[in-house]
Amino acid sequence: MAAITSPHAHEGDAHLHAHDDDHHELGFWQKYIFSTDHKVIGIQYGLTGLAFLFFGFCLMLVMRWQLANPGQAVPMIGGALQSIFGTAAFAASETGAPGMLTADGYNAFGAMHGTIMVFFGIVPIAFAAFGNFVVPLQIGAPDMTFPKINMASYWCFFISCIFMLISFFVPGGAAKSGWTSYPPLAGIADSAFLTFWNGQTLWLTGMVFNITASLLGSVNFIATIIQLRAPGMTWMRLPFFVWAQFVTAFLLLLAFPPLEAAGIFQLMDRVAGTSFFMPTGLVVNGNVAPWAGGGSPLLWQHLFWFLAHPEVYVLILPGIGMVAEVIANNTRKPIYGYKAMVGAIFVLAFLSFVVWAHHMYMTGMGAAVAAFFQTTTIMISIPSVILLTALMITLWGGSIRFTVPMLFAAAFLPMFGIGGLTGIPLAFNATDLYLHDTYYVIAHFHYVVAPGTIFAIFAGIYYWYPKATGRQLNELLGQIHFFASLIFINVLFMPMFLQGMAGMHRRWYDGGAQYEQLSKAVVLGHTGLEWNTVISTAAYLLCLAQVPFIFNFFWSMKFGKKIGRNPWDSTTVEWDAPSPPGHGNFDKPISVHRGPYEYSVPGADADFTPQTDPPANSKAPDQDANTNSQSVEKQH
């Protein structure tokens, strides 16, 4: 072949197009489906995640019907549900109406509600969608460092979604062993069916793909944040959201692999007949189980919670990041204690790796382990409180604009506070023995993720929607969405604390109807069972409250108010790109000259000074940009 004279010259004619994307209009499939553009991938993650979030929510509605009306068929859609999900999940009730959730169906819906909400709803939206869309824009990068790996990440995730959806329709139905998939129950579940074609095995396979997707994504995020920051974007000028994503990516990178190991172990148990998690002498249905034994179910719990506790912070950190952005923007004030917050999330991330066994107090593990994990668990509340306090103080003295994103962000603070504070009794061994596996636990972690993270996600959606579409979501519909959601989500979760303290167990299929003590325990004028009805009603109404949002989401794409580059008068770099940004993001070179939250700077022209604004006094050289360019020269 001929010697090459220029990098853009085409050697031969084999891959003529591969070199110059700029001249070449991509087809529909490459532009919107198999895209390597971080914004498209972010939106793909977001839409898939929102769809799963709603699906997981609907599974919960069916479960709530069963809890409030045990043994009754689901009204109106019962017949349809039975024909879709089959007779493993639904049966005719005593009155003969089709569509009563069976016990197996309840377990399957419960397990899948947890799995879908955590791994297919919130992580894909809060981490993958917002991270993909916002992070490169906020650091002034043209794309992610590895665009192809980014695409591979989404499609790995997509395959895992397919596995999870298929598992509803295989014989026996979806996985029924809880989202934690504890063996030996999970090891023997569905063993009557084909080795590969049953809910539990598909769950494990789906999780292995999901984990792979997360790993690919997190490598990409970290590399992007380290390598592709625009000139002048020093570490302490990163918006807090980028910090949150950075730490979250590390959590995923380092915490997920042990779960992958555990998933492989459990797959081996189910497929190759090993006994990693099968103890010696396990008896199933009166027979000694056909396994060599010698394994330990606690090994799964250790490996699972090694992931799943950091996972809690994977759920919450991007949420806090989004809330910080929205609060700074709408209070028109810099975030209080930015450096302390950055330090706090690092401490939080570090500690989150050494608290996992507080989920295992009931397993009878040794006192030394329990004491250790109890101590670290209490310690981890310190950085959480720093974060929350800093955000609260940011509100103080600000001239707050109550836009819809701000409403959600403001509501996030007390909601997350309730969720966090109610976790403290669970951190102590002694109180946990009583509260473990009750509705108190359910209420606690739902306060963290539902009115916590999901409200933060809504804040993020309302805040960055204009950047993604060029149009604003309708304000009134947004307010209806917010106030209805805030009321009903509290009516939904608050009574669960009471039920839990009255002793209601989290896995009761009939809502405790068979348990005398619960039907007699009166809390605030209602028995435990009556509260079930209140909670379920709130759940249906919460579902109704989402209608304005769904309508708004699609309607505003076409008919929303058109906006320019910076509708919120924000300082961060993403608002310097066109709305929506084109391929390669920015239409001018980006260089950063200041910190992320320069709102209401005394003496400035406007009440916000974008990060890309050159210094007012050109004689005073920008210190950091200068150091940076010096180091460039030194390299050469």
Binding site: S6, P7, L299, H302, V354, A367, A368, V369
Partner: protein, 130 residues
């Protein structure tokens, strides 16, 4: 195969990235050439240490746990050699060292804390290494 494609002489490399690379390159090449002997020596040392590991495992050190300590010590030394020399961790950028340090801490944490499951210093219960 690809061998048949005559490679271009190094310094004819062109393009923005390539020019920058060629700029560094003469320095790099000398630097690398010096290391080739080191790589070969380390390879031989690693193979010898493999033989040593095998040999030591048949020596009775008094308890099986002691064999573990010795075996793991040799393996760790080998791993350090591979990491420092072959993977160029010696003199690697601080960014990489930083997150590898944390990875190390978390792996050791995972090992030690699961070990606590079998060895409880408060009640003094213990399982022996077999």
């Amino acid at each position: 195969m690809s061998d048949s494609h005559a490679p271009e002489p190094a310094h004819s490399a062109v393009g923005t990235d390539a020019t920058a690379a060629a700029h560094d390159h003469s320095h790099d090449a000398e630097h690398v050439a010096k290391h080739i002997k080191t790589y070969l020596i380390v390879g031989v040392v690693l193979i010898v240490l493999t033989a040593v590991t095998v040999g030591l495992s048949y020596v009775d050190f008094g308890s099986h746990a002691m064999n573990w300590v010795v075996g793991m010590a040799v393996a760790t030394f080998k791993v350090c050699l591979v990491g420092a020399i072959f993977m160029h961790l010696k003199g690697e950028r601080p960014t990489i060292w930083r997150f590898l340090l944390f990875t190390g801490i978390f792996v050791v944490g995972m090992f030690l804390l699961t070990l606590l499951h079998w060895y409880d210093p408060i009640f003094g219960t213990q399982q022996a290494v077999r």
